[in-house]
């Protein structure tokens, strides 16, 4: 299988070239720690194994923390195609690009988006053995109900998901814990373009829906999810969100270094989202890419 579509090798090389100079403590931890003994953390079908994710505990200077390694070979290309994500390399890059964007925007986003770096295993013979390494975020895949104390975190997450054009933020595509903490994970299906597919699961677009006022979710066959403890939120931009968009608008070509990591059409879509949110002074709704 040829994983390289037009330009994705160049985009990936930009990450590879930048990594030796990255300075964020989480990036250095992931890059400098001795390679953990990654073990399979598999979702397993009744047929061949799919969607392999590996987990290992990294250790550096007294810090021990779980890392998740997501080799590209674990992606199911046909499923990705339905999300109009036809470059497996770009799917991996999106994990890093989402983090770079959060890192450049700073708090609160740099504190809730999972830091990610790129890993090429030393003996890898195909690009399918390479992929992003993502820092484990605290908590588990469930936003505690009824959601009290999560108002600000939900608002910040909604802004970020609107900005990156997230296609797949459902109610288990996150990590959360009490006292209120939140982690945004799994950004492969993001940086969508206008009219790209958005997961149609009732909770997909989770934080954007919450910010637009939805408090109850009724997934078929599952108990109703009740987030009535979340206070009133507004899609209107907060001052720190206006400032974030202003920063992006000062660098319309480079988008704070993110444009170089994206295909032209996905970078254009990001620019357009920045423009539209700034113009409307509101975050975009889910699936409005």
């Amino acid at each position: 299988m040829d994983y390289f579509v037009s330009g994705d090798r160049a985009r990936l090389d930009r990450i590879r070239d930048a990594q030796p100079e990255l300075a964020h403590p989480d990036e250095r931890f992931m890059l400098d720690a001795r390679t953990p003994d990654y073990k399979p953390h598999l979702s397993t079908t009744a047929g061949p194994n799919l969607n392999s994710v590996y987990v290992g505990i990294a250790e550096l200077n007294g810090r021990r923390w779980p890392l998740f390694f997501k080799p590209l070979g674990g992606i199911k290309p046909t499923a990705a195609h339905d999300y109009q994500q036809d470059s497996l390399v770009d799917i991996g890059i999106h994990e890093v690009a989402a983090w770079w964007l959060a890192r450049e925007l700073g708090p609160p986003w740099s504190e809730i988006v999972a830091p990610a770096v790129w890993r090429d295993p030393p003996k890898a013979s195909t690009i399918g053995e390479s992929g992003p390494v993502v820092l484990g975020m605290g908590g588990s895949a469930h936003l505690p109900e009824p959601g009290a104390d999560f108002d600000q975190l939900i608002s910040d997450a909604a802004f970020f998901d609107a900005l990156i054009g997230s296609q797949d933020r459902h109610d288990e595509n996150l990590r959360a814990a009490l006292p209120a903490s939140l982690g945004l994970i799994d950004h492969g299906y993001s940086f969508a373009r206008p009219r790209d597919y958005h997961n149609r699961y009732p909770t997909a677009g989770f934080f954007q829906r919450l910010r637009y006022g939805q408090r109850s979710f009724s997934p078929p066959g599952s108990p109703i999810l009740n987030y009535t403890g979340v206070g009133p939120l507004s899609p209107a931009l907060a001052p720190h969100e206006q400032a974030a968009l202003a920063r992006l608008k000062t660098d319309p070509t480079g988008l704070l270094g993110i444009a170089d990591l994206l295909p032209q059409d996905r970078a254009d879509a990001l620019r357009d989202r920045v423009q539209r949110m700034d113009q409307a002074q509101e975050i975009l709704r889910h699936s409005d890419f």
Partner: protein, 112 residues
């Protein structure tokens, strides 16, 4: 019949990673039976790609085929799903009715 084991993990403040079974489900045709755990973690409406159908399907399309492919919907490191095809009791002559073994998924990573 397809048996689904859905695991979630928790990363505690000290970095300890703990996997646990969130819900176990058996799907026979269009019948779904939760046999253990919390059904809140079962996302029945989650679209999954089916090679057989050549498109995204959900439970209503074909319950067993949806269950068979559900693991492909999770690649976030926080949720893992194991689908195991089980033969019905009539078809099983040996009593050992598991035809495909999933790896053990429940384990703990303890800091030293």
């Amino acid at each position: 019949m397809i048996r689904l084991d859905i695991f979630t993990n928790e990363i505690r403040p000290d970095g300890q990673l703990i996997d646990r079974l969130a819900v176990r489900v058996e799907v026979t045709g269009q019948k779904l039976n939760v046999t253990a755990g919390d059904p809140r973690f079962l996302q029945v409406g989650m679209p999954v790609y089916s090679e057989r159908y050549g498109r995204l399907i959900d439970f209503d399309t074909d319950g067993e085929e949806w269950a068979r492919n559900l693991p492909s919907a999770y690649r976030n490191g926080a949720v893992t799903v194991s689908a195991v095809e089980l033969l019905g009791p009539v078809a099983s002559s040996s009593g050992a009715d598991r035809v495909h073994s999933a790896p053990a998924l429940a384990f703990e990573h303890q800091p030293r």
